[in-house]
Symmetry: C2
Subunit: 260 residues, 2 copies
């Protein structure tokens, strides 16, 4: 008997940003979303209606499907997974920082499908072109099925094990959350002088374009890259009443100067 290598019937567990984006992207490509689970009926029904699915608020009432996608907040995954009893089918989670093994008690076929993107429930994103997916599976057959499903909805799919995925998640924290924090600091400094953040937008766009065009990022400009101690001194003087920003400025400047 031939194995059917295609995933067709999908249960989505969760109704947040990631769950919603996966449900919509998979539904758009013709996959059958059979059921949506949420703790609250209202949000379960809301997403279920969008993708013509059934819904439930009870984890022990999950329907039969080829795959169960657990897309809940990181800290809730283990608790949710503990309550899931399925006879067959693949179970996956969608978290960058959670190991594949937290699913092994649920099914003989399990894996991960991690979207490397900031997903927002109500924002239409060009999923195929803007959301790279990282997949992992505990066996070859499952990997093949996951890969096929991932490639249907995403132009870029990477196979990464849990350790590499965690490093990627950490790198993404620097490249996304921490850069955003740098913009927050810049904005707070500007606000103290009633200068609008808008003044920096052309600079931010241009320097992002330069980063995107390069194979490897670098710091070519700025006082630290030039070892311009005179300007660094002026900046630190401005920061003398912002202890936390000053510490951050000193640390990053030291690292840039020392090429760390």
């Amino acid at each position: 008997m031939m194995h059917n290598k295609e995933i067709n019937n999908i249960v989505i567990i969760g109704t947040g940003n990631v769950a919603t984006n996966f449900a919509m992207a998979l539904n758009e490509k013709g996959k059958d979303i059979v059921q949506i689970y949420s703790r609250t009926e209202e949000s379960a029904k809301e997403l279920a209606d969008k993708v013509s699915a059934d819904y439930t608020t009870e984890l022990h009432k999950l329907e039969k499907a080829d795959i169960y996608i657990v897309a809940v907040t990181d800290s809730a995954i283990e608790e949710v997974v503990r309550q899931i009893k399925i006879k067959n089918g693949i179970i996956v989670h969608t978290a960058g920082a959670a190991n594949i093994d937290i699913l092994k008690s649920v099914s003989s076929d399990y894996g991960v499908i991690y979207p490397l993107q900031t997903l927002i429930k109500d924002k239409n994103i060009d999923f195929y072109n803007k959301v790279p997916l990282c997949i992992e599976a505990n066996n070859e057959m499952t990997e093949e099925k996951l890969l096929k499903m991932a490639e249907l909805i995403a132009g870029k799919v990477y196979k990464l094990n849990s350790q590499k995925r965690l490093v990627l998640h950490l790198a993404a924290t620097f490249a996304n959350n921490f850069t955003n924090y740098m913009y927050v600091v810049a904005d707070k400094l500007l606000k103290s002088q009633n200068i609008p953040f808008e003044t920096l937008k052309s600079l931010i766009e241009e320097s992002t374009d330069i980063i995107i065009a390069q194979e490897t990022p670098a710091v070519y400009t700025g006082p630290a890259a030039r070892k311009d101690m005179n300007t660094i001194k002026k900046h630190l003087e401005l920061l003398k009443n912002h202890t936390e920003f000053k510490k951050l400025y000193e640390l990053i400047t030291k690292n840039i100067i020392n090429k760390i």
Copy 2:
């Protein structure tokens, strides 16, 4: 007798990234670049040829002009300015972190025209739409002339005094150089696992788009924003052999959690 409020004849002092971009942008809009100064004949001639100007390698041989734009590296401005002797005309520098007053001994009319952008000599940038200019002058007539010249070549012109310009320069250091450093850290972490930086590019583009679309930046996502101590612990464990990255991670995470 009516004052002529328009700047027509321009001497550019310097041939670096900023000097080149100003010379090209002003020349394109029909201004007469009468002379280029550089310490080396080769670079003076190269830029002079591009904008049909004379050139010199001697600061005491500057020609008569309406404005002298000193666009040399920050640390060289004062040394260059000391050698300039002019009878008339406005003198300006182009530095974010240098006070207007360093020019007061040269002319009775002086000011600043600071481009808030990463300028690269050999890269054609859409100057008008991508390079905001910040101007300052020591008197109204000079400000009026500078403003007119700035608005000819730039779609966005801000009047800022030296103190505000320095704060803006500091904010730009966070928003540009320090974000670039975050990408450098991300890249180094990825390289340790042979993951290409390219995997992060969609995320970087999307999160920059979100920042640009907002009036005020914020950190909405990531382990620190969620106070997800479990993920933070996993990240710190990965960083245990990268002392400097670990310090940086701890400092930024603490600031995000404490909304500093």
